[in-house]
């Protein structure tokens, strides 16, 4: 999708682990630990491929698969180095009243739930017309 719009669209990922998903928070923190070593998106993709195996041991295996240093990653995870960053994302989502996932803001326009590629294209095309 981003390739299709070559340079005209960027994607920002925000952590919105739902309270009922008790394993999610460590996974969100783990992805940020991978990001600290330049592997945010590969780790992100691995997590979405893995649902819902998010025990500590699983998170360490994914890091190893991506060639991340085991000790550095484990320390980051165990110290919960990015806990406050994940919390900030959750607070921003709550301030926006975003209580279900996924929710998208396309130049501020809200799209709730996994929607069709066609609907996404139509909203993006409209946004591009407004801000070419």
């Amino acid at each position: 999708m981003l390739q299709e719009y070559d340079g005209r669209v960027r994607l920002v990922f925000k952590d919105r682990p739902l309270a009922m998903h008790t394993l999610a928070r460590p996974a969100h923190e783990a992805a940020r630990c991978a990001g600290a070593s330049g592997k945010y998106w590969p780790y992100h993709d691995r997590l979405f491929a893995a649902q819902p195996a998010f025990r500590r041991a699983d998170l360490l295996v994914y890091a190893a698969e991506l060639g991340l240093d085991r000790d550095t990653f484990a320390r980051c995870l165990d110290e919960r180095r990015f806990a406050a960053d994940v919390e900030r994302d959750i607070e921003q989502a709550q301030a926006l009243g975003i209580n279900s996932t996924p929710t998208f803001l396309i130049n501020g326009q809200r799209v709730i739930g996994a929607t069709s590629i066609e609907e996404f294209r139509s909203i993006i095309d409209k946004a591009l017309q407004e801000r070419p």
Binding site: D15, A95, L96
Partner: protein, 46 residues
């Protein structure tokens, strides 16, 4: 790394406009900073 979003509050009509500052980590962005369209995805890994 911030974006100010003006949102029309559909749920509570008396507050016509709410502004929330959205921040993000540079590692969690794909695509050029000058892109005219920004998609912010709020999601849950679990």
């Amino acid at each position: 790394m911030t974006l100010l979003l003006a949102l029309v509050a559909a749920v509570s009509p008396p507050r016509a406009l709410a502004q929330v500052e959205i921040t993000w980590s540079p590692s969690m962005v794909k695509g050029p900073s000058g892109a005219p369209v920004t998609i912010v995805e709020f999601s849950d890994y679990q």
